[in-house]
């Protein structure tokens, strides 16, 4: 008997993971939610595989508190690993229990039974099925992990590319996003967000909004202001009246956006040592130093955050697209000082999700507004401007790197330091709620401060901050900034995006300093064979070493996500004209056993394109008081014409455990682009985003230096 997988140990009852329906369907419940990443398809493949039924027989049930296993937050590229492993064991055991039950019924041995797509046949022709005896067979049983899941060579469904189970509906217009739910008696809410992050409401004349026909309630609780109305349009009109009638006290409390690194280095901080192997060593011949930065980044989902809440008899029901239904419930319970058991949180698909977005926040908005209209559901959908200004941002970072080199330019010692807010402020993990409106109420909750998960479980700012090269001495420090003027939290890959950009850029500089090809340098300093395989594969596909066209540059970057997850290498080809154009990304990815290889490719390709957008274009704009709330005009993202060709090679490793795919490509993509820009024009840009303006300024600075 092996140890129970974590999720299964926490939720051992088999019936909580799967039920058999008489019509020949297996209902499978996971605590992980569909965010557009295709996880429910992957989990369905795993369940179908272990149960030996056709994939079409698996119905993935959207997660809801009370009925679904509690698997925390759908984040960290852990869903296939956590929920997938739990389901493998749960379904393997359920299959065995069904066969045992059938064997008892027929008085034969379980081994003599034949299982075909849920039908169980005895040698003498008698038959039963999962659909007949399945639920009774697993009733009351807790998982024991005593049944080994299938060996790699016995798999038929897991490991093959299958179409996403939800995409056809979305293409045909059948899908029902949370935005489409129309519950009986549903009203529409809107929130008047303050003009700036630190603003408090000084006065408000509610009368003009109150008197608007169709307005059911104007809600004010401290600096939280909202309306409930019969339609979204009326709610919106009422909010504009409130906006005109509100007076705010604002503070110039934001850092200088053009000098974020100075603020990060001077703010109060908590310092931890991430890696410290510094003993001894010869004196260096020289030391290279460089600093890298990234700005605040926005989630910028195309779909606005949305939620529906309804109160009845002191109980709360919430529809949400949040990443963690139990986590959201825990925070709502704190805000409303009620037992969590009086709250039901149900997941419905919403915006493509790239980290801690506004989904949890809008759920509290809806719950606060719905209190004013007991018994009626209230739907709240954020505006585009609020979406871009109030969803938590991916925090700004500064990274300092130093390398002591010997006479031959080989690294004797490496020192690194990150400066950043923590990278996560998830709901449901602390004594105070992290939801946006909670700190704006008349009796406010303290504003949450981002933390960093421990490095051993992946870290936050310090994620991927320790280089994966065989350097004799390494010291890495993490400075977590303890003031948080802009509300930040987890954005896809957390600190890894900037850390890999910096480390992989810096090792290119080290290679150049020796006059060595950056690919050759990497292959010489990386001993992990899986790492070498992705690097070599991406480089080969990109035609590394072949002739380049004028104005073009090539660069490579790689990382093993969190030091323990997927291996990913990206080779980029850029063209420098009057702007930076990424023409092509060649990517190799090793997620161990890829359950749905095309799903992996889709996630990696999407992640790389999003990271290209971050790398070339994106930065949240703000002055000393306000965040720019001007919608897409003020926060441009990569367009169809700007998107590079992306080729993804999935290196299938059937005997390795599965790890997540969604966050592996971000850092390597940024690094490859930065290195390709350096290759094209001989100038390295260490501050993101890499814009034409920055390149021109850097080229000018270099000329001045040389002159």
């Amino acid at each position: 008997m092996s140890a129970l997988p974590t999720s299964l140990a926490k939720n051992p009852r088999l019936g909580q993971w799967l039920r058999f329906r008489a019509e020949g369907v297996v209902e499978v419940r996971s605590g992980k939610v569909e965010l557009g990443q295709g996880i429910l398809t992957t989990l369905a493949q795993i369940a179908a595989e272990e149960l030996d039924v056709a994939l079409e027989r698996i119905a993935m049930v959207p997660a809801a508190t009370g009925s679904s296993p509690d698997e925390g937050v759908t984040s960290g590229s852990l869903s296939t690993q956590d929920s997938g492993t739990a389901l493998r064991f749960a379904c393997a055991e359920a299959r065995a229990l069904c066969l045992e039950a059938a064997a008892r019924r027929f008085g034969v041995s379980a081994a003599s039974l034949r299982l075909a797509d849920g039908d169980i046949h005895a040698a003498d022709g008698r038959r039963t099925s999962y659909w007949e005896i399945g639920d009774a067979a697993i009733e009351g049983r807790d998982a024991t992990a005593s049944i080994a899941p299938k060996a790699a060579d016995a798999r038929r469904i897991a490991g093959r590319s299958v179409p996403r189970t939800d995409l056809a509906d979305k293409v045909l217009g059948h899908a029902r996003f949370i935005h489409d739910l129309a519950l009986p008696g549903m009203l529409h809410g809107r929130v008047l967000r303050p003009p700036s992050p630190g603003a408090t409401l000084a006065s408000l004349d509610e009368s003009a909004a109150q008197s608007l026909a169709g307005v059911a309630a104007v809600v004010r609780d401290g600096s939280f202001v909202g309306v409930v109305a019969r339609s979204e349009a009326i709610a919106s009109a009422a909010i504009e009246r409130l906006r005109a009638a509100a007076r705010w006290n604002e503070l110039a409390a934001l850092p200088d956006a053009s000098r974020l690194d100075e603020w990060l280095r001077s703010a109060p901080r908590e310092t931890t040592v991430v890696a410290d192997r510094t003993a001894g060593g010869p004196r260096p011949a020289r030391t290279l130093k460089a600093s890298f930065t990234r700005p605040y980044l926005a989630h910028a989902s195309v779909a606005p955050s949305c939620a529906i809440a309804r109160w009845e008899d002191g109980a709360l029901h919430v529809h949400t697209h949040a990443q963690g239904i139990y986590n959201l419930r825990a925070d709502l319970a704190i805000v409303f000082a009620m037992p969590a058991e009086r709250i039901v949180v149900e997941h419905v698909q919403g915006a493509g999700c790239y980290g801690h977005n506004g989904a949890d926040d809008v759920a509290l908005d809806a719950a606060l507004l719905a209190r004013a209209v007991d018994g009626q559901p209230v739907r709240v959908q954020w505006t585009r401007a609020d979406e871009l200004a109030w969803s938590p941002f991916g925090p700004a970072m500064a990274i300092d790197l130093e390398a002591d080199l010997d006479d031959a330019g080989e690294v004797l010692a490496w020192r690194g330091a990150t400066w950043s807010n923590g990278h996560t402020m998830r709901p449901g993990r602390a004594k105070i709620p992290t939801l946006l409106a909670a700190s704006q109420l008349a009796t406010p909750f303290e504003r949450s401060l981002c933390v960093d998960p421990p490095f051993a479980s992946g870290g936050g700012s310090q994620r991927n901050s320790v280089p994966a090269y065989d350097f004799p001495r390494v010291r890495v420090e993490c400075h977590r900034v303890l003031e948080m003027p802009l509300r930040a939290s987890a954005l896809r890959s957390l600190g890894a995006f900037a850390n890999v950009f910096a480390i992989e850029g810096f090792v290119d500089e080290i290679a150049h300093a020796r006059g060595e090809d950056p690919l050759a340098w990497r292959l010489r300093r990386v001993s992990d064979s899986r790492a070498r395989a992705v690097i070599e594969s991406a480089a080969r596909r990109a035609g590394w070493g072949s002739a380049k066209r004028e104005g073009f540059g090539r660069g490579i970057g790689w990382a093993r996500y969190k030091g323990a997850g997927a291996y990913c290498a990206v080779a980029a080809e850029v063209e420098l004209t009057h702007e930076v154009r990424v023409r092509r990304l060649c990517i190799a990815i090793d997620v161990g056993f890829a359950v749905n290889p095309d799903g992996v490719a889709n996630q990696v390709e999407g992640g790389a394109i999003q990271a290209t957008s971050w790398t070339l274009k994106e930065a949240v704009r703000f002055d000393r008081t306000r965040v720019a709330a001007d919608g897409w005009e003020g926060y441009p993202i990569l367009t169809f014409s700007e998107v590079p060709r992306v080729e993804v090679e999935v290196l299938q490793r059937v005997d390795e455990p599965s790890v997540g795919a969604g966050e592996a490509a971000q850092g390597p993509t940024a690094a490859a682009i930065g290195n390709a820009v350096r290759d094209a024009i001989g100038v390295r840009i260490r501050d993101l985003p890499i814009t034409a303006g920055r390149i021109a300024a850097a080229a000018l600075a270099e000329e001045t230096e040389t002159a």
Binding site: G173, A213, E232, S301, V302, Y354, E605, I609, Q610
Partner: protein
């Protein structure tokens, strides 16, 4: 409380059927479609013609339903994503989008599918660059762009081939 302005009746042809609905005088087309006409596949993204999620076809041309007054669609023929597979048969573009698995969250897809449908109606053999340029008014945050472009090219190819067969 102020009196509400009277509702107005808008008559138009939607997905091949004559429809009529009452909406507020300042209602936009997307409110009409998603509201009384119960066609939720048209998606609200920004309300300022900057993301393309709300694009539908009016008399065959792509328009932003988030800003167009519903009244401006009176007497016109509007096609939404639901209308591409009227009768249960997916359009060649829809089949190609599924074949290429051309989405992640799928929210931006409605508008993109409508724009691409208009492109394919007037251009039977677009180049990849032409497809990208046509789709430039649309934002996709999940990074499904290349799969969508491949799907449009695939649909164009299949439409040409089936024309060839039927000719």
């Amino acid at each position: 409380m102020t009196h509400e302005p009277p509702m107005e009746t808008v008559s138009l042809r939607v997905n091949g059927r004559d429809r009529e609905a009452r909406v507020a005088p300042d209602a936009t087309l997307i409110e009409l479609l998603r509201g009384p006409l119960e066609l939720p596949a048209t998606r609200f993204g920004c309300g300022t013609e900057r993301c393309g999620a709300c694009v539908v076809l009016m008399d065959g041309s792509p328009i932003y339903s988030c800003t167009l007054p519903a009244a401006a669609a009176a007497g016109r023929a509007v096609t939404t994503l639901e209308g591409l597979s009227e009768g249960g048969n997916a359009s060649p573009l829809q089949r190609a989008l599924i074949a290429e698995q051309a989405a992640q969250c799928g929210y931006c897809l409605s508008g993109i599918a409508m724009r691409a449908t208009a492109l394919l109606a007037r251009h039977r053999d677009p180049s990849e660059d032409e497809v990208r340029a046509a789709l430039d008014p649309h934002l996709c945050r999940c990074g499904s762009h290349n799969r969508m472009v491949r799907a449009v090219l695939r649909a164009a190819r299949e439409m040409r081939e089936s024309e060839g067969t039927s000719a």
